[in-house]
């Protein structure tokens, strides 16, 4: 019987939630890495028992953890105390160093500021190779490992794509979204706050901005408006890789030509601000967002937590509230904290800054909390297991 495994990263550790296909009764494992900020955990599509995790701390910096048994045990790749014939292992699993000259980006006061590595925001395992993983980091850059996390190397051409005009948003200048295309292994999309969307068609050797058509509320530092967009999240359905959906700082957008152009599909949303956006596993035109009151408050309108679903690929939205708190709710849902499973009845999951993890086992019609009292949830991913 099919089952699901939900990987939850929080401000104070990671939690792994498992259930059978009914998604009714849950086993909870954790906290793993108690006390550490777990920005993101994600399993390999090629080997579901292989899970990578970004463990980070203001005190101790960045650590990459890896599990080869579905999250039961963890290790720091290349960082173990096992002796080799040559001596101690030269593990560099925690080492993220920008390639070449570090370079500078735009700072808040208009000056140029050197890139400084802070943490890994997002890990995107290869669709086919369990040892290959992309890492999106702050300050924004894309790294890749091809040896299971032992060593990481930057794909530096991305930062050369008008990087001097990228500027951090209030949450930092993080590369938060990495989309891989099953039909075209050389194609990669990334999204960065607050730089925009970039596309590579050659495995990351070269990049170009993919932001044409996005609304511009204020003048951008880039006079051509190619970079400087505060993109919060982009999403794609694997069966239709040229269609992208975007939750931007102030609106929801759609591209039908692989990011060559975008148009707004905010439609009747109560507020077009929010962080996550995701696509139904079996309906490529069904998408989900969580509207948050813009711009300074960052909690649900009227204290009512509602997911909004569009079955038309945008423009027409319906609120989904059954089982979600409809009064006095002032949590946020962060950009990496929503996911879908691929069971026949698509499951939708999200976590909140108030520590709740919700599941809908019927595409969003009805919701239940799996857990209510975790630390603030930073990320939610789900694995559908055979």
């Amino acid at each position: 019987m099919s089952s699901v495994r939900v990987l939850v990263g929080t401000k104070k550790g990671a939690f792994i939630l498992t259930a059978d296909g009914k998604r009714d009764k849950w086993d909870v494992s954790g906290p793993h890495f108690a006390g550490w900020e777990m920005y993101h955990l994600k399993g390999s599509p090629a080997d579901p028992n292989r899970i990578y995790a970004s463990q980070t701390s203001g005190w101790f910096g960045q650590v990459i953890q890896r599990s080869d048994d579905g999250g039961k045990t963890w290790n720091t790749p290349g960082g173990g105390p096992t002796a080799t014939p040559e001596g101690m292992p030269q593990g560099e699993s925690n080492k993220f160093v920008y390639e070449g000259e570090v370079g500078k980006h735009l700072w808040y006061d208009g000056t140029q500021h050197p890139w400084e590595f802070k943490r890994v925001w997002h890990l995107e395992p290869s669709l086919t190779d369990p040892d290959a993983v992309y890492a999106g980091v702050e300050d924004a850059a894309l790294f890749k490992t091809t040896d299971g996390g032992h060593t990481w190397k930057e794909l530096p051409a991305l930062r050369h794509t008008k990087g001097h005009l990228w500027q951090p948003g209030a949450g930092g200048m993080g590369l938060h979204t990495i989309l891989l295309d099953r039909s075209n292994p050389k194609r990669i999309f990334v999204a960065i706050s607050a730089a925009g969307v970039f596309r590579s068609d050659d495995g990351g050797e070269t990049w170009k901005p993919a932001t044409r058509g996005l609304n511009i509320t204020y003048e951008l530092p880039d006079k051509t408006n190619e970079v400087g967009h505060c993109v919060h999240r982009i999403a794609m359905h694997p069966s239709r890789p040229n269609v992208l959906f975007m939750q931007k700082h102030w609106d929801v957008n759609r591209s039908d030509d692989a990011g060559e152009s975008w148009h707004e599909v905010s439609g009747n949303l109560p507020t077009d601000f929010g962080f996550p956006i995701d696509v139904h596993a079996h309906e490529p035109n069904t998408i989900y967002v969580v509207p948050i009151k813009s711009d300074s408050e960052h909690y649900p309108p009227d204290g009512k937590l509602r997911v909004y679903r569009s079955r038309t690929g945008g423009d027409e939205w319906e609120p989904l509230a059954k089982g979600l708190p409809q009064s006095n709710c002032y949590v946020n849902v962060l950009r990496d904290a929503m996911a879908v499973d691929s069971l026949d009845a698509c499951g939708v999951y999200f976590g909140t800054t108030g520590g709740q993890v919700y599941v809908s086992a019927d595409s969003g019609d009805n919701w239940k909390p799996i857990l209510r009292d975790l630390p603030a949830v930073l990320s939610v991913e789900v694995q559908t297991l055979a």
Binding site: F33, A34, G35, W36, S57, G58, W59, F60, G61, Q62, V63, T76, G78, G79, G80, P81, G87, M88, P89, Q90, G91, E92, S93, N94, K95, F96, V97
Partner: protein
């Protein structure tokens, strides 16, 4: 034999107890002791000092015999009681944050 006391989170990361011991050849300095710790426990590389600059992470401090070596040059000699193993070099996580 040099004794090194680690903060809680680095103990769990390295899967060791409160103290570890390392051997240091030559002058016993903060730099030499940390080099030996990182060689013995590679998973700690980058967690005490920056990978590239080798600068101490801002919220960690180095103490020996109640003396603060955090801002001393990294090649400053540690006290004889640390060299003899009577006292540890303590790596302390700052009491800060939430």
């Amino acid at each position: 034999m040099i004794r090194v006391e680690l903060p809680f989170h680095l103990r769990t990361l390295a899967r060791v107890d409160r103290e570890v011991t390392v051997e240091v050849e030559g002058p016993v300095t903060v730099r030499a002791v940390l080099d030996a710790v990182e060689e013995r426990y590679p998973m700690l590389r980058g967690t005490i000092r920056d990978h590239v600059t080798q600068k101490r992470r801002p919220f960690l401090r180095f103490y020996a015999c109640e003396e603060d070596f955090s801002n001393q040059p990294p090649d400053t000699l540690l006290p004889e009681t640390v060299v003899s193993g009577e006292e540890p070099l303590s790596i302390i996580g700052a009491i800060a944050g939430g």
